[in-house]
Symmetry: C2
Subunit: 290 residues, 2 copies
Amino acid sequence: MKVGFMGLGQMGREMAGRLLDAGHELTVYNRSRAAADSFRSRGAGVAQQPIEVLDAEVVITMLADDAAVDAVWVASGLAGTMPSSGVHLNMSSISLKMGKQLTILHQAGGSQYLAAPVFGRPYAAAQGQLDIVVAGPDAAIARCKPLFGVLGKQCFIVGADPPQANIVKIARNFLLGTIIESLGEAFALTRKSGVDAATFLNIITSTAMSAPAYKNYGRMIVEKAYEPTFGLKLGLKDVELALEAAGDTHVPMPMAGLLREQHIAAIACGYGDKDWAALGEYIAESAGLY
Amino acid sequence: MKVGFMGLGQMGREMAGRLLDAGHELTVYNRSRAAADSFRSRGAGVAQQPIEVLDAEVVITMLADDAAVDAVWVASGLAGTMPSSGVHLNMSSISLKMGKQLTILHQAGGSQYLAAPVFGRPYAAAQGQLDIVVAGPDAAIARCKPLFGVLGKQCFIVGADPPQANIVKIARNFLLGTIIESLGEAFALTRKSGVDAATFLNIITSTAMSAPAYKNYGRMIVEKAYEPTFGLKLGLKDVELALEAAGDTHVPMPMAGLLREQHIAAIACGYGDKDWAALGEYIAESAGLY
């Protein structure tokens, strides 16, 4: 399939690589050119201008955040020139507000739009093991199915309105934040009574909390493995996306509000450049544990 | 083995039944006599007075809470008459403070004491599928191993100091509370954007939150299945046990504090006699969803 690909960051470069390896005809664009050039030797076309990626059946955007999506795709006017024959498959994690804006923009321009944010860190992307959450019109989803098969191990369709996929991603990342905070508090409480943190983690992950989120974040806190693969400041950004969406749709989320305060305090205490799991270390510190 | 058993409530009666079926020689005591009498036909001895259960290798207590443990075992002076040859195996879920008090009482009296609270509802108890968390001296644990094998599917040893098992149970139930609250908020947020709750639940429990706690409480919230098997007021009690232990050991637990407020509000809004999962319904209501 002829595919345009914009955004060759940590995630995007792995995903674009898989699509190339699977035999798709790729034209890539990236704002910093070096990342794009490295794909030339692998057989990809390299666009000099963003508009060159539009000559494709599907254009994938995998940009860092709202600001990048706005700069590359909205403010630039690019979305407005999308031909109706193509599908814009936006896999970036963005706000509910930006999700709604893009939906309206594509509807107005008569072009097809899907939101398909993913769960998974770069190593999962490299192995085609992402979890993909998709929302949008059926015909566009059908068009993109072969691409989902290359990028993900599971694909969840949540509705016909694209922003529904964005809110699922936002709500799920809010849950990750609650897991890290609650684990931090539970570790601090048990450690104060002399219970070994690894023992406590083994008990909860061998019983009702036997899930990857508890196992992975719990292990990172126990091992104090805070080298960032997803930074605490990005965690705060995700909590703020939840609070913004909650404000826009009138949903009281006291736990999200508390998470925001805890993240800000953790950043104030010097954990901002650590992994999201370091929130647990801030909590230990606030309990006088080191 | 000659076993004394006190406390034939919803959990205790299933556990005592399994010990009988496994061939142990049981003497049971219960404050309301009807529950004890029903065990006579199954071959158990029925104690008229609590002190009669002390003539055993192991005396199990499975009482409702601190108040029941205090009434039957502490204020009654029973613990003080425990012979040094026997083991008091306390499987009740109690406060950290009561756990410490019992430890001191048995140490002073020269008798052996284990704390072994369990995870699991009555149907798990009936099938010997409880998760048992044990703390106390090795010799006493070794003595009780055959009983653990009949009652539980897993047995976790957390340390030599009995209250360590109590704090693990308290911290784990605090985590359950955070899961219900966070699920309630995430459901409310996604439902406001038109995402089906069952679809959202399937996504999170097929990915990073694939654990029984999310599956079970999530299903109950989605199905509005709030007939109590563990009531919301018991949930509040568990959150308060966490806060009390946190106060005693100097651990800031902002999430536990927030949970307390949410539980009180849910009870004020009429959810007190529903299952713990009904906290999710209170949250939906507070977001204007019914």
